[in-house]
Every structure is written in structure tokens, then in C-alpha cells.
């Protein structure tokens, strides 16, 4: 009874924090699913903006919430597919650059299309129309979907595309189709995050989805580990929660945060999730270090150097 009550009051005290974590987890999932397939796309943030305006304006117009969300998903899936087709030639940093430009362009459009988006004033007074439970269930659903994509044939196929696209093609994998698929999932997850943010916090600012959000989302995925959706979830929780708890070091928090990023990038490319997986693997005595989710023959030979955990040669 007492325990229940204390859980209840803890929840009430932290509800906003939990909501933020759930929304950012969806966004981080979007980045993670792309990165895991070897698509360095940050387009999710642009779709976060598109999703928040679409869902927010539709609900404000009197649409039923579920219909507005479905319409958002349908619209962004279509736009995401279009963008994937347009950007089909680009890889790696060039793709990252193009998607960042896309995100910021969406921001500029949002700021200037005053008739639709309210410009710098934004959209206010959207009725609160989703509950924390809905978002939680969506995050669970997205997590399930992503864990399915990490398993079995499709998981191995996506990983093969990341490790060596040409080799995957030579094994008659239609890499273009899988890449478009992952890209669209990535965009829709970003749009859902934006939609929930608008429907929960009742207002949208044109500056919500800017360069800072791009950096935050990418950081979450990298620090948590882009090898798995669990890494993205850990990243979303840590990077939303720690800054609030470390108010004692106040203005120097960002320095700790930056140092953590340099550390993870330099020493733990698999992120915290990768570290944990290496650790459990070592403890369980599995010496082969073979990742079960690997397609045979996609090993990348990494002479004389440490490879990221996922790219380690099976021995």
C-alpha cells in the first residue's frame, strides 16, 4: 500500500521527465534504425518537425487524435520514401550533410510559412490529446519492431548491408529496397516523436527541431550504442535524466557531457550498450566473440587494429 503510494507520488513528480524520455526515445530509435543499417541519416529531426505540425494542426482542426496520428504516419512515410529515392546516391558523411541540410531547411520553411505554421509565434493551444500510456505503448511497440529487425534473416540482411553493401548485393540482396525501408521507418519514428510532443505539450515552436536537437539525438544514440535499440533507449534515458540530477555542478555539466562524448567516441565505439555486451560476452566465456546476428562471409578484416564489436572477425 505504502509502496504503491510512493510509486504513485514518484510518478507524479517525474511525469514530465518520463514523457520527455519516451518522446526522445522514439526519436533516438529513428536515428538508431538508420545507423544500424549503415545509413547515416539525420532526417528524423526534419520529420520530427513535419510530424509535430501535421498532427498538431490536424488535432487543432478538430480531427480525432488517432486519425490525425495515422494521417501523420501515412504522410511522413510517403515523404520519407520520396526523400530516400532522392538521396539514393549519397553515403556516409555526404548523406549526413544532406539530411542535416534537409532538417534545417524544414526549420527555415516552418519559420517563414506563417500562414500554416504561425511562423516565429508557432502553434499554440493544441488540445492535450495523448496520454503518457499511449506514448509508452508506442515506444514498446517501436522497440518490439526494432528488435524484430535485429533478429533472424532480416536482422542479418540489414547488418550485411551496413558492413558491405556490394557483398550483400552479390548475395542477391536488393539493398536499395532494404535501405529505403529502413529510411522510411527512421522518418516515421521521428515524425511520431514530433507528433506526440505537439499533442502532449500543446505547442510547437519553429525552433524546436533545430541543430541542437540533431546533436542531442545523435549523441543519445552514439553514447547509448547504435548497435541495438536498447542502446538508443539507454542513451535517451541517460541524457535526459543526468543533466537534471547533476544540477549541483550546474554550469560545468556540459563540460562533463562533452568529455563523456569524446571518451565514448574514442574508446567505446559501440557505446554503453556495446561495452555491456562485450563485458557479458567475456564473462560468459564465449571466446569466439561471434555475433549471432551476422551473415556469414561479411567479416571485415581489420588488420592490426581494434574493430567495433559488431565488425569483429569471427574466429
Amino acid at each position: 500500500m505504502n509502496a504503491l503510494a510512493s510509486i504513485g507520488s514518484w510518478y507524479t513528480n517525474n511525469e514530465t521527465l518520463i514523457q520527455q524520455i519516451l518522446i526522445l526515445a522514439l526519436l533516438a530509435f529513428g536515428i538508431q534504425v538508420a545507423l544500424r543499417t549503415g545509413i547515416f541519416s539525420l532526417a528524423s529531426i526534419g520529420f520530427y518537425a513535419i510530424g509535430s505540425y501535421t498532427a498538431g494542426l490536424l488535432v487543432k482542426d478538430g480531427w480525432v487524435t488517432i486519425l490525425a496520428i495515422l494521417a501523420t504516419v501515412a504522410l511522413t512515410a510517403m515523404l520519407g520514401w520520396l526523400l530516400a529515392v532522392l538521396l539514393v546516391r549519397l553515403r556516409d558523411l555526404y548523406l549526413a550533410m544532406a539530411t542535416v541540410a534537409f532538417d534545417l531547411m524544414i526549420g527555415v520553411i516552418a519559420l517563414n510559412w506563417t500562414g500554416l505554421t504561425g511562423g516565429p509565434l508557432g502553434v499554440v493551444g493544441i488540445p492535450i490529446s495523448v496520454s503518457t500510456l499511449t506514448i509508452f505503448l508506442t515506444v514498446v511497440g517501436a522497440g518490439l519492431l526494432l528488435s524484430l529487425l535485429e533478429r533472424g534473416t532480416i536482422g542479418r540482411t540489414l547488418e550485411a548491408i551496413r558492413e558491405d553493401e556490394e557483398l550483400a548485393q552479390s548475395l542477391s540482396v536488393d539493398t536499395g529496397r532494404y535501405r529505403r525501408f529502413a529510411f522510411v521507418i527512421s522518418c516515421v519514428l521521428g515524425a511520431l516523436a514530433g507528433a506526440y510532443h505537439a499533442l502532449l505539450f500543446t505547442d510547437i515552436q519553429a525552433t524546436d527541431a533545430g541543430f541542437d536537437l540533431i546533436v542531442l539525438a545523435l549523441t543519445m544514440v552514439i553514447i547509448g550504442g547504435f548497435g541495438s535499440w536498447r542502446g538508443a533507449l539507454v542513451g535517451a534515458i541517460l541524457l535526459t535524466w543526468i543533466p537534471l540530477k547533476l544540477t549541483s555542478i550546474g554550469e560545468w555539466w556540459d563540460v562533463v557531457y562533452g568529455a563523456l562524448m569524446i571518451f565514448v567516441a574514442t574508446f567505446a565505439p559501440g557505446g554503453l550498450f556495446g561495452l555491456w555486451r562485450d563485458l557479458t560476452r567475456r564473462v560468459s566465456g564465449s571466446k569466439s566473440g561471434q555475433d549471432p546476428a551476422r551473415l556469414q562471409g561479411t567479416a571485415i578484416v581489420t588488420p592490426g587494429g581494434r574493430a567495433p564489436p559488431s565488425a569483429r572477425e569471427p574466429t
Binding site: L35, G38, F40, L86, L87, R89, L90, R91, D92, L93, Y94, A96, M97, A98, V100, A101, F102, L104, M105, V108, I109, L111, N112, E165, E166, F211, V215, L218, T219, I222, E251, W252, D254, V255, Y257, G258, A259, L260, M261, I262, V264, A265, T266, F267, P269, I300, T302, P303, G304, G305, R306, A307, P308, A311
Partner: protein, 295 residues
């Protein structure tokens, strides 16, 4: 006419800023997102050095450039070198480098914000007296003349250095194939450190000149310039010195024209639209001759 002068001054600062970024990306595959923060850091150093009004312009400029270069070299030694040597998978190395540089940018920006109490800061007038010259109706200040001259000197110097000098040839060899150039006796680590120092010092030069020209700035300036520099690299072709110079002036003229004559609230969009357009139509950049091959 006045707008053209503004565009050329703006383009000159962009040239100085983006040449360093282009050098690091083109030769070492380091997309250094801390470049903008280093740029502001140099402006901050100038502010600190000129506060008591004893130091004059030239020593301030040199110390700030060395400071900016040193910060970049520190980043190379702490993070970039380890990443380059440890992760042989190129994509992983690029991603890790990007993240490490975001971390570094966060640290530098927070340091500057804390030291300046989150207010704008600018170099003291005592170090450099801004004087305006009038030619007909067109005005240009002495610092603006220095900016344009510096850009011309640096652009020609860097172009010749990369093309002709022994060092420059080694830099291009490393860009082409680091492992083989290592075997052929190029000290890749040393060369990378020198390249990063030059890149940082160029950001420093641009940072000091901009700080004096603007009068006051804060850390957000670094991010604005970084985003515009992305467009310059993409339009000019990554690693191409001449492409970067041409693209810097092109974008400066386009943005100035939009601000002066067009829908000025869309000026931020010019750079992003150019990035998208060029990547869609001609991913190797408008001025690059090299075939686009990133598989």
C-alpha cells in the same frame, strides 16, 4: 556597390573559416564540428588579451591563432589520432570523429559561456582602432581591408602549399592512401598534427578578424558559420582548396543578395538549399573534377 563590398568581406571570412575545415576533411577525413567553437575561442582569446589594453593587434592575433591551433592539435592528439589508428573501418572512424568533435565543441562553448557569464563579448577598442574609408558612397573599414587581404594571401598560400611543397604533396598522398604513404616514409601522425594545427590557426585567424569586425559576439556565431561552411565544402567539393574559395564567395554573394534585395527572412535557407541541390545534382561539388566515389 556597398552590398558587393559587404559580400566580399563576408566571403573572405568564410574562405578563411572553411579552408581549415576543408583541409581537415579532405586530407584526414576529419569533419571537425568543433571548428566553429575554435573560431569563437580565438575571438574569446582576443577579448581576454585586449581587456587591459596593453597588447596591440599583431601579437594578439598571433597568440590567438596559436591558441586556436593548439586547441585543435590537442583534440587531434586526444581523440582523432586514436580513432584513426584504432578503427580501420572508415565509416566507423568518420562517425566517431564527428561525435568526438561535437563533444569538444560542447566543452569549448561551455567554457567560453562560463568565462563570459553568457553575455556577448568583444575585443577592446584600444587594440585596434576601426577607421572607415569612403570612396564615393561606398564605405569600407580598415579591418575589412585586412580581412580581404588575409583571405587572398591565405588562399594563394594554401593552394600553393598543397600543390607544390613537399609537405603539401605528402598531405595529398595521405588523403589518397594513408597506409601506403605511411609505408613510403611519410610520418602520418606528425603530418596530421601539422594539418590540424594549420586548420585550427586558420579558424583562429578568421575568429580574431571577425571578432574585431563585429565588435561583439557570442558562442552561437560559431554554429552559424559552421553550418554555412558545410554548404561551402559541399558546393566547392570536399578537399578542393580552389573549390572552397569559389564557393565561399558564391555563397556570400548569394546570401548578401537575398538579404539586401530578396526575401531576407529566407537568407538562412540559401546555404541549406544549396547543399541539397548540389548533393542531388552533382555530389562531387560544382568545382571538383574528381569522380564521386565513396563506396
Amino acid at each position: 556597390m556597398q552590398q558587393l563590398v559587404n559580400a566580399i568581406v563576408f566571403g573572405s571570412i568564410l574562405t578563411l573559416f572553411s579552408l581549415g575545415l576543408s583541409l581537415a576533411w579532405g586530407t584526414l577525413d576529419v569533419l571537425n564540428l568543433a571548428h566553429g567553437a575554435v573560431f569563437v575561442f580565438a575571438g574569446f582569446l582576443t577579448y581576454e588579451l585586449t581587456k587591459d589594453g596593453t597588447l596591440s593587434f599583431v601579437p594578439t592575433l598571433i597568440i590567438s591563432m596559436i591558441g586556436a591551433g593548439a586547441v585543435t592539435v590537442a583534440l587531434e592528439l586526444i581523440a582523432f589520432r586514436r580513432i584513426r589508428n584504432n578503427f580501420r573501418v572508415k565509416r566507423q572512424a568518420e562517425l566517431s570523429t564527428l561525435v568526438a568533435s561535437i563533444g569538444a565543441a560542447t566543452i569549448i562553448n561551455q567554457f567560453i559561456s562560463n568565462e563570459t557569464d553568457n553575455t556577448t563579448f568583444g575585443p577592446s577598442q584600444s587594440a585596434f582602432h576601426i577607421h572607415q574609408y569612403k570612396v564615393g558612397s561606398v564605405g569600407i573599414t580598415n579591418i575589412q581591408i585586412i580581412i580581404v587581404a588575409a583571405a587572398v594571401v591565405v588562399a594563394i598560400g594554401l593552394d600553393q602549399w598543397v600543390r607544390r611543397s613537399r609537405h603539401g604533396r605528402a598531405v595529398r598522398a595521405v588523403a589518397y592512401d594513408p597506409a601506403t604513404s605511411g609505408l613510403l616514409g611519410v610520418n602520418v601522425n606528425l603530418l596530421a598534427a601539422v594539418t590540424m594545427f594549420v586548420a585550427g590557426a586558420l579558424a583562429g585567424l578568421a575568429g580574431v578578424l571577425l571578432a574585431i569586425n563585429l565588435g561583439s559576439e557570442d558562442v552561437s556565431v560559431g554554429q552559424d558559420y559552421l553550418l554555412t561552411a558545410f554548404a561551402i565544402l559541399i558546393v566547392g567539393g570536399v578537399g578542393s582548396v580552389r573549390g572552397a574559395i569559389a564557393a565561399a564567395y558564391l555563397i556570400a554573394i548569394a546570401e548578401t543578395a537575398v538579404i539586401a534585395y530578396g526575401p531576407s527572412q529566407w537568407s538562412d535557407g540559401v546555404a541549406f538549399a544549396l547543399i541539397l541541390l548540389v548533393l542531388l545534382i552533382r555530389p562531387q561539388g560544382l568545382f571538383a573534377r574528381r569522380r564521386f566515389e565513396r563506396v
